[in-house]
C-alpha cells in the first residue's frame, strides 16, 4: 500500500484511540455517548460534504434541516392526541390548506398571465386574501388545540408509528423543504445563497419554537418512543441482571452501555449505507460531472450540462441526508427541544467538520465528524485541567483565578475557530484530501 493509501486508516485509528483514551480515563459511558453523537455528526457532515464538497454550494442552514428531521420524529412517533384533533385539528389544517392553495394559485396565475401590472396586482391579491382567510380559519383551531391540557400535551401529537420510520421520512421531508428553498435561492451567487439559507434556518427554528400546536414550542416534546429498550426495562429482567453479574459487571452501568451500543449499531447501519451510496455516487460519471461543474461552471455548461438542475439535485440530496441525521439526533435525545438549536453548534460546527476532514472527501467528512465532535466534548474538561495547571501559582480564592476557571467553557468556541483557521491556512485540503 502506498503512503497515501495508509493515511486514511491511520487517521481513523488515531481518532478511535482518542475515544478509547476517553473511555479509560473518564468512563466508557462518556466514550460511547461521544461515539453515538460522532456517528450522527459524521452523517450530517456527509450531507454537507455533498453540497459543498461535490458541488460547491455554500449552505449555512444546516441547522434548519436538522430541525426538520427532529420535527419529523415527533410527527411520526408521538401518539396522536385525539382530543386535540377533535378540538381544532380540522380547523388548523384547513387554515394551512387555504394558505397553500393561495400560494399554488398565485404561482399558477403568474404562469398564465403576461407580465404587467395586472399580474403583479393579481398575485398580491391572491396571496393577501389567502393569508387573511387562512389565518382567520387557522388561529381558532390552533388556539383550541393549545388549550387541550397545555401542561401535558397542548399539541396535535403524531401518528404513533415506530420511530425508525421517521428516519427515512425525515429525509423526504427535508428534501421537500430543500427543494422549495433551492427553487428560491439557487442561482444566486455564493454568499447570497449563504445568507438566504441562514435566514431559512432561523425561520424554521422560529416555527418550531412558536407553533405550539405542532411542536409544543419551548415546552419541549419529551418521552419520544425509543427504538431500543429502556435501561430500567433491562434491569427489571432478572435473567439480564444475573448474566451481567455472572460476567462480573455492574448491572446498572452495563444496561446503560448496552443501550448505547444498541443505538450505535443502528447508527452504524445507516452510516454504512449512506457512505456506500455516497462513495458509489462520487466515483460514478455523475460524481465526476458534479466536480466538473464545481470546478468550472462555465466550461461544464458549455459541455451541455444543466448546471442549475444539477445544483438543485445535489442540494436536495444533501439536505435529505441532513434530515435523516436530524431525526437520528432527536431519537437519540428522546426529546425535541427547539430552544437548543444554536447555529454555532448545529451549522458552523458541521462546517468545521467538513473543512477539517477534507472538502469533497466522504471519508474526510466522516473522520471530521468524529474528530471534531470528540474535541467539542473534550475541550471543556481539557481546558479546565489546563487552566487549573496554569492558575496553580495564583492564590486560592483570587478573582482572576475564579474568572479563568469559569471561562473554561468558552475555550470551546475559540478552539474550534483556531482549528478552522489553522486547517484553512496550512492544510486547506483537509486531513483526508479529495483524490
Amino acid at each position: 500500500m502506498s503512503r497515501a493509501g495508509l493515511r486514511t486508516p491511520t487517521l481513523f485509528i488515531l481518532v478511535a484511540g482518542l475515544i478509547a483514551i476517553t473511555g479509560f480515563a473518564q468512563s466508557w459511558n462518556v466514550a460511547l455517548t461521544i461515539v453515538n453523537m460522532g456517528l450522527v455528526s459524521a452523517i450530517v457532515a456527509l450531507g454537507l460534504n455533498m453540497q459543498w464538497g461535490y458541488a460547491g454550494l455554500f449552505n449555512i442552514g444546516v441547522m434548519g434541516f436538522l430541525a426538520v428531521g427532529g420535527l419529523t420524529v415527533v410527527l411520526v412517533a408521538m401518539p396522536p392526541v385525539t382530543e386535540a384533533w377533535a378540538a381544532g385539528g380540522a380547523a388548523a389544517l384547513a387554515g394551512l390548506a387555504i394558505g397553500v392553495a393561495a400560494l399554488v394559485g398565485a404561482v399558477l396565475l403568474r404562469r398564465r398571465l403576461p407580465p404587467g401590472p395586472l399580474r403583479g396586482a393579481g398575485t398580491a391579491a391572491i396571496l393577501l386574501a389567502g393569508y387573511v382567510l387562512g389565518r382567520a380559519v387557522f388561529i381558532p383551531g390552533a388556539d383550541a388545540i393549545e388549550r387541550v391540557n397545555p401542561a401535558g400535551t397542548g399539541f396535535l401529537g403524531g401518528f404513533g408509528l415506530p420511530v425508525i420510520l421517521a428516519w427515512p421520512l425525515a429525509g423526504a421531508l427535508a428534501a421537500g423543504a430543500a427543494w422549495v428553498i433551492a427553487r428560491i435561492a439557487l442561482g444566486l451567487r455564493a454568499d447570497y445563497l449563504a445568507i438566504a439559507t441562514l435566514g431559512i434556518a432561523e425561520i424554521i427554528i422560529a416555527i418550531l419554537k412558536h407553533e405550539d400546536w405542532l411542536t409544543r414550542g419551548v415546552k419541549n416534546v419529551v418521552g419520544i418512543p425509543r427504538p431500543v429498550p429502556f435501561e430500567v426495562e433491562l434491569l427489571r429482567d432478572p435473567a439480564f441482571v444475573a448474566r451481567m453479574q455472572g460476567w462480573g459487571l455492574d448491572p446498572v452501568s452495563a444496561a446503560s452501555i448496552l443501550v448505547k451500543l444498541a443505538y450505535a449499531a443502528l447508527f452504524v447501519v445507516v452510516l454504512a449505507l449512506l457512505m456506500w451510496m455516497a462513495e458509489k455516487a462520487l466515483n460514478s460519471p455523475w460524481g465526476r460531472m458534479m466536480r466538473a461543474i464545481r470546478d468550472n461552471e462555465v466550461a461544464a455548461e458549455a459541455m451541455g450540462k444543466d448546471v442549475t438542475r444539477r445544483h438543485l439535485q445535489i442540494f436536495v440530496l444533501g439536505a435529505a441526508v441532513m434530515g435523516i441525521a436530524g431525526a437520528m439526533m432527536t431519537t437519540l435525545d428522546g426529546q425535541l427541544t427547539p430552544g437548543s438549536y444554536q447555529p454555532l453548534r448545529f451549522t458552523f460546527l458541521v462546517w468545521v467538520m467538513v473543512i477539517v476532514g477534507g472538502s469533497g472527501s466522504n471519508w474526510g467528512a466522516v473522520l471530521g465528524g468524529f474528530l471534531i465532535w470528540w474535541l467539542w466534548v473534550m475541550v471543556e474538561p481539557i481546558g479546565l485541567w489546563l487552566l487549573g495547571v496554569l492558575t496553580t501559582p495564583l492564590p486560592e480564592g483570587s478573582a482572576l483565578k475564579a474568572h479563568l476557571l469559569g471561562s473554561a467553557q468558552h475555550m470551546r468556541l475559540i478552539t474550534m475557530g483556531l482549528i478552522l483557521l489553522l486547517v484553512l491556512r496550512f492544510a486547506p485540503r483537509g486531513l483526508i484530501p479529495e483524490r
Binding site: G56, F58, I60, I139, I184, A185, L188, R189, A190, D191, Y192, A194, I195, A196, L198, G199, I200, E202, I203, A206, K209, H210, Q342, P343, L344, F348, W351, V352, I355, G406, S407, H410, M411, R412, L413, I414, T415, M416, G417, L418, L420, L421, L424, R425, P428
Partner: protein
C-alpha cells in the same frame, strides 16, 4: 380630530420612534458590512460578533468610569466609554487582518474561502466576548431613562395616549447621524476616502494610479471597527447586551446591505431603515391605533397584526429574497457579481 392625533401618537410611540432607533443601529451595522464588501470583496460573517466585542469592551469601560464616579448625566456613560471600545475593536480587527485575512488576499483566494475564514474568526470572537464578559444579560443604559415620558407627555398635551422617548433612542439617533456625516465627509472630501472609493470601484485602476492597497485595507478595517463597535453599543443601550443576540442581527444587517446594494454606503443606510420599519410595522398590532380612528362598532376583533413578533426574522428574509430575485444589484446599484 383628537382621535387622529391620538392614533398618530400611538403610531409614533410604538412604531416610528423604536423603528428609527433600530434603523439607525442596522444602518451602522450595514455600513460596516458594505464597506468591507466594497474594499475587501467578501461578506464578513464575523461582523455581528465584532459588534458584540466592541460593546463588551465599552461595557468594561462603563464599569471603570462608573467606579471612578465619572458620568455624563443625562447622557449614558457608554458614550464616554465608546472611544475605548472603538480603539480595542480597531486593534483586534487590524490584528485579525494581519494574522488571518492578509494571507488570503495575497493569494488572491476565492471570495468564498474568505467567507469561510470569517466564520472561523466569528467563532474566535464569539468565544473571546464570552471569555471577557460572560454570557449573562447586561443592562448599561445609565443616565436619564426618558427624555419624554408618558405621563409628562399626556399632561402637556392633554391627549389620552402618551409618548415615551427614551434617552437611549435619542442617543442612538444622534450618534448615528454624527458617525454617518463623518463617514461621508471622509469618503467624499479626504484624499484617503477618495482613494478608498477608487479602490472599491476599480481595483486595478486604483493600483495603477499609485494607491497603496494595504493602507486602504487598514483604513477600511479601522472604519469598520468604529461602525461595528458603535452599532453594537447603541443596540445594547437600546435593548440590552446579550452576547448571543449579535449573531442574530447578522440577518437583518445583511438584508439591509443587500437591499441597498452591496458596496453602496448610501444604500446601506436606506436599507437599514427600510428593514427596521418593515420589521416593526409588519409585526406591530394596529388595533390600538385603529381604535382611535374607527367608530366602536367597526372595530376589528383581532389585534390587526400581520405577523407575530416571533417571526420578525422572516420579514428581513422576505425583503432580502424579493430584492435578490427582482433587483439583484439592490436599490442603489451595488455590485452583484
Amino acid at each position: 380630530m383628537e382621535g387622529l392625533l391620538n392614533a398618530a401618537v400611538v403610531m409614533a410611540n410604538f412604531v416610528i420612534v423604536p423603528a428609527t432607533a433600530y434603523g439607525a443601529q442596522l444602518a451602522l451595522g450595514a455600513l460596516g458590512v458594505t464597506l468591507i464588501f466594497g474594499i475587501l470583496r467578501f461578506s464578513n460573517f464575523a461582523h455581528g460578533d465584532t459588534m458584540a466585542f466592541g460593546a463588551a469592551i465599552t461595557i468594561l469601560g462603563v464599569w471603570a468610569l462608573q467606579g471612578a464616579g465619572v458620568s455624563l448625566f443625562p447622557v449614558p456613560t457608554a458614550i464616554l466609554a465608546l472611544p475605548f471600545g472603538i480603539l480595542a475593536t480597531a486593534l483586534l480587527l487590524l490584528a485579525t487582518d494581519r494574522g488571518v485575512y492578509r494571507f488570503y488576499r495575497r493569494q488572491k483566494a476565492n471570495p468564498i474561502i474568505l467567507v469561510i475564514v470569517s466564520i472561523g474568526v466569528m467563532f474566535i470572537m464569539n468565544g473571546l466576548v464570552r471569555f471577557v464578559i460572560g454570557t449573562e444579560e447586561i443592562r448599561f443604559d445609565d443616565g436619564a431613562r426618558f427624555l419624554v415620558d408618558v405621563r409628562g407627555f399626556r399632561e402637556a398635551t392633554g391627549l389620552a395616549e402618551g409618548l415615551a422617548i427614551r434617552t437611549a433612542q435619542v442617543t442612538t439617533f444622534l450618534t448615528a447621524i454624527v458617525f454617518v456625516a463623518a463617514l461621508f465627509w471622509f469618503l467624499n472630501r479626504t484624499r484617503t476616502g477618495k482613494s478608498m472609493r477608487a479602490f472599491s470601484d476599480n481595483e486595478d485602476l486604483a493600483l495603477l494610479s499609485g494607491i497603496d492597497p494595504e493602507r486602504v485595507v487598514r483604513v477600511t478595517w479601522v472604519i469598520a471597527a468604529a461602525l461595528a463597535a458603535t452599532a453594537g453599543v447603541l443596540y445594547g443601550l437600546d435593548k440590552s447586551f446579550w452576547p448571543t443576540t449579535y449573531f442574530q442581527l447578522l440577518l437583518p444587517i445583511f438584508a439591509a446591505a443587500v437591499v441597498g446594494g452591496l458596496g453602496s454606503p448610501l444604500g446601506a443606510i436606506a436599507g437599514g431603515f427600510l428593514v427596521a420599519f418593515s420589521e416593526i410595522s409588519v409585526t406591530y398590532a394596529f388595533r390600538r391605533a385603529l381604535g382611535h380612528l374607527l367608530p366602536p362598532d367597526w372595530m376589528p376583533a383581532g389585534l390587526v397584526q400581520l405577523l407575530s413578533t416571533d417571526y420578525k426574522f422572516a420579514v428581513s428574509f422576505v425583503i432580502l429574497v424579493i430584492v435578490l430575485l427582482f433587483k439583484p444589484t439592490g436599490l442603489f446599484r451595488g455590485t452583484s457579481s
